[in-house]
Each structure stands twice: as structure tokens, then as C-alpha cells.
């Protein structure tokens, strides 16, 4: 690992100021960033730790909206339970030690194509709050490892509207424990949303055909025989594009059946 300066501010304002330096980068739980640094795939001049910023931690309820601070670790979201599907998802990320360090902000900012949280954010129609604006999940995830964040912009919280019913079904890649395919289904006052992770070359996406089918009949049977096109699916040693497309249909049906 190349060396870097290390700073641990105690407020969002100070973190943003510290990130003004050329090649400075935020550090959250480090569960993705530290392995990346070890492989010398990143070379920041400075890491700005977000772990000392108490205003970015914790979970609060504002009416029917759950506000999760970006520096909240997966274990705390798992223990919360206000939105059962979200807590279940958090409780199945990696292993306990990963869940004690990894944060929701780090996960959405990283937008790994196989990560779980992007599916929850897109599936629930969440809003990503940053130090300077609010971005709808539909506009936030722009491609594999790509987001709408500007240079030096940090995610401070994620706001989730409470769904009527929701569930996440994950088919684990057994070695990494990431999602080979994961589908988050939510029925909300504004309709049904189906978000798919792990499958597409473009990262997390909404499966619109399934949303339409479920809008008139919210049952697993409504998706019988359906699967998205395999054209844009990831193909690697863990699974071919056709296999992933098939799994999307299977996991979507399981998620609908489990939704509560």
C-alpha cells in the first residue's frame, strides 16, 4: 500500500474542507477501500476518515421516512428493524466483522455492481442526501462503480420511505458472499418497484416489465416465465449472462413471495 496522510475530522463541514485537497478521498468502513489500496488500485494523497463524525451516524424516523446516517454500520441497520426488508438485507451483507465496519454510505458511494444496498435504495425509491443536495436513487446510480457524486462530495444520509410490503432475495456468490443476483421488490403507495443487483453490466437497474406485471397482480405467479433480456448481463466464471437473466426471474418471484 502506498502511504497517505490521514485526517479524522469531527464535522461534515471539516470533512468537506479536508476533501478539497488534490487526490484526497473519504474513508468510511474501509471494507472496500482498504483492499483496493492494498492492491494499489488507488493512490490517494490523503484519506479523510468519516468515522469520527457523529452527525453522520444513527437512524431516525421522520414521519414515514427512515433516515439512515451515511456512517451507520450494516450491523446497526440490521438491528433496527423499522423496514424489515432493509434490515434483513443489511444483516446478510458479508459476515459479522464486515457488518461491524462497513457503512451504508460507503456501499452506495461505491456502487459495486454486486452490492446489496444499491438494490434497496433503488427498490424503495430512496433519496441520497449529500453535503450539498438531495439526489433521487433513480438519478444517483449511473453505472458500474459510477454515481452522480461530484469530486469531493460526500453522502451524509440515505432516506427510505416506508413501503407497504417489501423483501430482498439474494443468491449468494459463495466465495465472496456478494450477490450473484439480488432482487429487491417493494410495493409502495406510488406503485411497485423492482431493483436488480449483481446481474447487469450497467450496475443496479429497475426491471420495468416486472413492475408493470406486479402493479396489477402483486403475486409471484404474475412473474411466471418472465426474465429480463440477457444481452446486458454480466458473464463471468461464476455464471453466464443467460444464467443470471434466469436467476433474476427466480429471485424476483422469491422476493414477491416473501414480501411483508
Amino acid at each position: 500500500m502506498y502511504n497517505f496522510e490521514f485526517e479524522r475530522p469531527t464535522s461534515v463541514a471539516d470533512a468537506v474542507k479536508a476533501l478539497g485537497q488534490e487526490e484526497a478521498q473519504p474513508l468510511a468502513g474501509g471494507q472496500t477501500l482498504i483492499p483496493t489500496l492494498k492492491q494499489r488500485l488507488a493512490m490517494p494523497s490523503k484519506l479523510v476518515s468519516l468515522s469520527g463524525i457523529s452527525e453522520m451516524k444513527g437512524i431516525t424516523q421522520e414521519g414515514r421516512t427512515l433516515v439512515v446516517g451515511a456512517a451507520t454500520v450494516h450491523a446497526d441497520v440490521a438491528a433496527d428493524g423499522t423496514i424489515a426488508a432493509l434490515s434483513d438485507l443489511a444483516g446478510n451483507i458479508g459476515d459479522p466483522a464486515v457488518r461491524n465496519r462497513g457503512t451504508i454510505g460507503g456501499s452506495v458511494a461505491n456502487n459495486d455492481p454486486s452490492a446489496c444496498y444499491p438494490a434497496a435504495a433503488l427498490g424503495l425509491g430512496a433519496t441520497i442526501v449529500t453535503d450539498r443536495r438531495e439526489i433521487a436513487a433513480d438519478d444517483f446510480f449511473t453505472g458500474m462503480f459510477e454515481t452522480a457524486l461530484d469530486e469531493g462530495e460526500i453522502v451524509t444520509a440515505v432516506k427510505f420511505p416506508q413501503p407497504e410490503a417489501a423483501a430482498y432475495a439474494k443468491f449468494e456468490q459463495p466465495a465472496s458472499r456478494f450477490a450473484l443476483v439480488g432482487v429487491f421488490v417493494a410495493r409502495t403507495g406510488e406503485g411497485v418497484r423492482v431493483a436488480v443487483t449483481g446481474a447487469s453490466e450497467g450496475g443496479v437497474f429497475r426491471w420495468r416489465e416486472a413492475e408493470t406485471a406486479l402493479a396489477s397482480d402483486f403475486s409471484a405467479g404474475a412473474l411466471d416465465g418472465m426474465a429480463p433480456e440477457a444481452d446486458d448481463m454480466i458473464s463471468d466464471l461464476h455464471g453466464s449472462a443467460a444464467y443470471r437473466a434466469h436467476l433474476v426471474g427466480v429471485m424476483a418471484r422469491r422476493a414477491v413471495a416473501a414480501a411483508r
Binding site: 490521514f6 479524522r8 471494507q31 482498504i34 466483522a97 461491524n100
Partner: protein
């Protein structure tokens, strides 16, 4: 070089650390606490699990400077000062929960974190909690048995696999 101070196994500890110094490296090389093992250095194996402010974390995937002011517990602090093993360690010995012993410090620290959260875990809960702790020798069965025994549960019913 920056200085970092923390409490390790109940005693104050401090030393120099670069930005990139990992907690595992600080514990082993600066403090000489080599019981925290580094098996993979890629957050897969769990041999390096320690507790930071009471929570199990992989010391190979946390920077030492992030532990400033924290309360750190390692395998060295598990036995009593006179060398008497704690109930988890004793159960590992009694139930043959280790062979080469490389994974054991991480297994014991993960087990301690589990039993604090869930004093009487089921076999399935133990296996689930140990998802991030790999063992190349035992086949896990005796580790699971040891943890059940350490939590005061009858292990006679656990099938010998």
C-alpha cells in the same frame, strides 16, 4: 510520524503509526502481540479478528489510526493473568476445536463476540456467525461443538460428522 493511543486488553498502549499502518500490523509489530494472526490479509479468513469497542472486526481491514481512543481486546487478554483459560478457550481444548491453531485466535474472538450478543446460540446460529472465519483443519464441527459447550449447552446431541 503520527502517534496513536488506545487501550489494549485493559492497559494503555501507544506508538507511532503511518496512515497506512493496519491495526493488525500495529498490534503485532509495534506492540508485539503476535497472537492476532494474519492469514489472508484480504478480509476473507478472520484469523485477525479482534474486538474494537466490544465489536468483532478484522484487524487487517482497519487502520491503526482509526483505533485512536478505542478499547481493543485481543486473544492475549482472554486468559486470566495466571494463565487459566477462559471458558471458550477451555472448551476449544476439551472438544478438540483446533488442530494447527492458526485460525484459533480469530475463532475464539468471534465466538466471544457471538456469546456476548447471543448467550445460547443454536448450531445454525453459530455456523452463520462464523461465516467470515475460515479453518483449513478441523472441518468446523468441533469448533461449533466447543462454542456450544462454552455457552453451557449440551453437546451430546450434536451428531459426530
Amino acid at each position: 510520524m503520527p502517534q496513536v493511543s488506545m487501550t489494549v486488553n485493559g492497559k494503555p498502549a501507544s506508538g507511532e503509526a503511518e496512515g497506512r499502518t493496519l491495526l493488525s500490523q500495529f498490534l503485532r509489530e509495534t506492540l508485539g502481540l503476535t497472537g492476532t494472526h494474519v492469514g489472508c490479509d484480504t478480509s476473507q479468513c478472520g484469523a485477525c479478528v479482534v474486538h474494537v469497542d466490544g465489536k468483532a472486526v478484522k484487524a487487517c481491514t482497519m487502520f491503526a489510526l482509526e483505533a485512536e481512543g478505542a478499547d481493543v481486546a485481543t486473544i492475549e487478554g482472554q486468559a486470566a493473568p495466571d494463565g487459566t483459560l477462559n471458558p471458550i478457550q477451555q472448551a476449544f481444548q476439551d472438544h478438540h476445536g483446533l488442530q494447527c491453531g492458526f485460525c484459533t485466535p480469530g475463532m475464539v474472538m468471534s465466538a466471544a463476540a457471538l456469546l456476548k450478543e447471543n448467550p445460547k446460540p443454536s448450531e445454525a446460529e453459530i455456523r452463520d456467525y462464523l461465516e467470515g472465519n475460515l479453518c483449513r483443519c478441523t472441518g468446523y464441527h468441533n469448533i461449533v461443538k466447543a462454542i456450544m459447550a462454552a455457552s453451557g449447552q449440551d453437546v451430546g446431541a450434536l451428531a459426530a460428522e
